[in-house]
Amino acid sequence: MTVLGLTDWKVLIVDHEKCGACHICELICSFTKEGVFSPTISRIRIRESPMDETILVCQLCKIAKCIETCTFGALSRDEKTGAIVLDYEKCRGSKCGDCVSACPYGAIFVDPRTGRVLICDLCGGEPACIRWCPRGAILFDFPEGEKAALKQKAERKLVAYKKGVRG
């Protein structure tokens, strides 16, 4: 399997074995970015099924399909952090949604109330979720050695999840 997400930057790597599915990452994300508590406008998501959970978050692909897909030039790479940043002035939101379907990991979301597109911007280089995760299940590191394996495992899970949702 090609590792689509191989990157030159520090990236959020989720250890699914450690994750306790407590949704604290979603809550701190929506609070940090939006000032309220609401998992449906979080940029990291825990999707639960009986006996299992999948954590969706931007994998910082080296060749980012979302940027390539966007016909409005709304998505670009932050050269410092590597994060995919969104220009809301240019973005057409849920009216377009091309990036949402292009992301192989299902890690780009739409705010159901406003139609805004939501994507993790790594909080400018200091992600709030890693500090609040009570299980230390989210790492923020370069995907090398063991961590590359961990990331690959997470990616597979995300891809499988996206396929499952589409049917």
Binding site: E17, C19, G20, A21, C22, H23, I24, L27, I28, S30, F31, E34, G35, V36, F37, S38, P39, T40, I41, R47, S49, P50, M51, E53, P112, R113, W132, P134, R135, V165
Partner: protein, 647 residues
């Protein structure tokens, strides 16, 4: 609004009418969740109503902290008049509570009865009743799965299983694989309304009044929790509350064994949580917004898997029925989860049947096979008979108290129930313990109050923190009411806020084994903007507890209903570290009187006019009098000193 969200949802199943009301301003007097539920229950329920009639409301409520980052703020209360006769109220985790809040509702009040099975679909502001014909008969796991398939994976549901549909009196309401509003038969009331499920999607948010200060308070609370877990080994890393089995059994003699005959048990070693941990546990997960994380997930084989079990179910299907085989215990647990059966009551009712058979009161013509202790297969078969009300199961499905009356022939003598509900633990493991369980407004268990120093603290600790070393002595009765009352108010406010008792009442407040009322008051204050401190929060807890008491008094509870069953006074422990001990009636009655006095209730346990007025509950007086209850006007002085006794 901050903390709370906008609406209370009213659903009339008889007329198929749905309406919304704004949350009243006075909600802050009752905090929300359990507290506001109680106010609604008292106001909406006609006295002595038949619990299965359409006039009995079924009320779901979430507190102001639910859906925020406050630790373990994920819980809801279901409140109704119980099929056991008095207060039906149960608290439950999972992520349904937060979802309901994000949809914009603090409470859902269900009234009436539907002619055919229905479920309530709440998609943010769009609410409708749907036909549940194809869900009726399904178990709780299948029901939730189908609802997700039909409406989307973001929907979270509470539902009943076949036990609730068949009006098994101890049926519960379920969400997720294991979360249950377990005791007091709320699932049977839901079944009587033919309401199969409430499926909710919420895409809104919860905001707080002072975001920065709120987050500072949350960080302080998290700091305390880390300290509890890492320094004091608070959480059982092995298997959640199941890990407490030893604490209950060996040292404290309050593990119910074979219908509470014993308080400790030789075979407990075979149920050691370490076996579970090594053989079946996959990992431990956490409830919504909970940093403690005490939910173990297990898999025995492709067919037998799930979450939990809590200590209560291991107790019920293990020691209570004398069964030391872990695999069959897990099988019974999962069966109860799926069918929507309160495992706590179920294990006790089965144990009661085994004892009656042993005593010759139930004869071999009446039972399908010889009832024996330790028969895992037999337990499963009895569970099936209860759920589908077959044979003797039809009688046992009424619960121990009613079953004893139906069976008769002296069976009443062996029933261990209070306020219609089965005993949770043997009461003779300490006077404070006995008082806490016996006076509990909903029936005998540890979710209304507890007396932890008796089982967890040394005399030195109690001297230093309470100025009274005898609080640690379970054989002493004097002065035990203080801790019990304190914990009643703590659990009342924590349920009302929507957080978990694991972080309040259950950790002994001594030696900092739990979060203090002050930190909860801060979280509440900064979330809602209501000016409040720890003491005032405890007073709000007292207000809630008094509404509950007023409710059960109106339904007929008096002093004799706060006294343990005769067997706890006459049958000493035959084995264990407390061998030979039984409660002394005279001493218990003295303790009960002191407890009433501290509450400002009369000698019959009826709240006094003066105390109700002091608590701002003057408007309960008229309805109580109309129901023929005489309220006294005794001034007990400042009975609330206990608040200053504890840090």
């Amino acid at each position: 609004m901050n903390g709370w969200v906008k609406n209370i949802l009213y659903v009339d199943l008889s007329r198929g009418k749905i309406s919304k009301e704004d949350v009243p301003k006075r909600i802050s007097e009752y905090i929300g969740g359990r507290g506001m539920n109680m106010r609604l229950l008292f106001d909406l329920t006609p006295p002595r109503v038949d619990p299965f009639s359409g006039l009995n409301p079924l009320i779901f409520g979430v507190g102001p902290l639910v859906g925020t980052l406050a630790p373990a703020s994920c819980r809801f209360n279901v409140t109704t008049k119980s099929p056991f006769g008095y207060l039906g109220d149960s608290n439950c985790g999972g992520d349904w509570a937060a979802t309901l809040k994000y949809a914009g509702y603090n409470h859902v009040v269900v009234l009436g009865r539907s002619d055919k099975p229905v479920y309530l679909l709440i998609d943010d502001e769009n609410v409708e009743l749907r036909d549940a014909g194809d869900l009726w008969g399904l178990d709780t796991w299948e029901t939730q799965k189908l609802l997700c398939e039909e409406h989307g994976e973001d929907f979270r549901s509470v539902c009943i299983g076949p036990a609730g549909e068949n009006l098994v009196r101890f049926a519960c309401i379920k969400t997720g694989l294991k979360h249950a509003a377990g005791r007091t038969g709320t699932g049977a009331v839901m079944g009587s309304k033919r309401l199969k499920a409430i499926a909710v999607r919420g895409t809104g948010s919860v905001s707080v009044a002072y975001p920065e200060k709120f987050m500072e308070a949350v960080e302080r609370a998290y700091g305390m929790i880390n300290d509890l877990i890492e320094v004091r080994g608070y959480k059982s890393p092995v298997a959640g509350t199941y890990g407490y089995l030893w604490w209950l059994h060996d040292k404290n003699c309050k593990l119910g064994v074979m219908h509470h005959r014993y308080g400790s048990w030789e075979d407990a070693a075979k149920l050691d949580p370490i076996h579970y941990h090594r053989n079946y546990r996959i990992k431990i997960i956490g409830d919504f917004s909970c940093p403690v994380q005490c939910v173990p997930r297990f898999k025995v084989n492709e067919r037998l898997y799930g979450e939990g079990p809590e200590y209560e179910l291991v107790n019920s299907f293990g020691s209570m029925v004398g069964n030391p085989d872990l695999k069959s215990v897990l099988e019974a647990c999962v069966y109860a989860e799926k069918m929507g059966l309160d495992g706590d009551s179920a294990g006790r009712v089965i144990a009661y049947a085994i004892e009656l058979y042993e005593k010759g009161i139930l004869t071999s013509e009446e039972v399908p096979f010889p009832l024996r202790w330790g028969d895992g297969e037999g337990v499963l078969e009895l569970l099936r008979m209860i759920v589908y009300r077959r044979g003797i199961g039809n009688i046992l499905a009424e619960g121990e108290a009613l079953a004893s009356k139906i069976i008769g022939r002296g069976a009443e003598k062996y029933a261990l129930t209070m306020k219609g509900l089965e005993l949770h633990e043997p009461l003779k493991s300490g006077y404070g313990h006995a008082l806490a369980h016996s006076t509990s407004t909903r029936g005998p268990d540890h979710l209304r109050s507890s007396h932890h120093p008796e089982h967890s603290n040394t005399p030195e600790q109690c001297m230093r923190l309470l100025g009274d070393p005898t609080q640690a002595d379970r054989y002493v009765s004097e002065g035990k009411e203080r801790m019990v009352v304190f914990n009643e108010y703590t659990s009342a406010f924590i349920d009302s806020l929507g957080c978990c008792k694991f972080l309040s009442t259950w950790g002994s407040i001594l030696e900092g084994m739990s979060l203090t009322p002050e930190i909860w008051a801060e979280l509440y204050k900064y979330a809602t903007g209501v000016e409040i401190n720890g003491k005032a929060l405890l007073e709000a807890g007292e207000r809630v507890y008094n509404i509950e008491r007023a409710f059960i008094v109106r339904e007929g509870v008096r002093r004799q209903d706060d006294v343990p069953p005769e067997r706890e006074f006459s049958e000493p422990y035959p084995t264990g570290k407390m061998k030979g001990f039984r409660l002394d009636r005279e001493r218990y009655e003295r303790l009960l009187s002191a407890y009433y006095e501290l509450h400002g209730w009369d000698e019959n346990g009826i709240p006094t006019e003066s105390r109700l007025k002091k608590l701002g509950l003057g408007d309960l007086i008229e309805p109580l009098k109309r129901a023929g209850i005489e309220l006294k006007n005794i001034d007990f002085g400042n009975g609330r000193d206990y608040i200053t006794l504890l840090r």
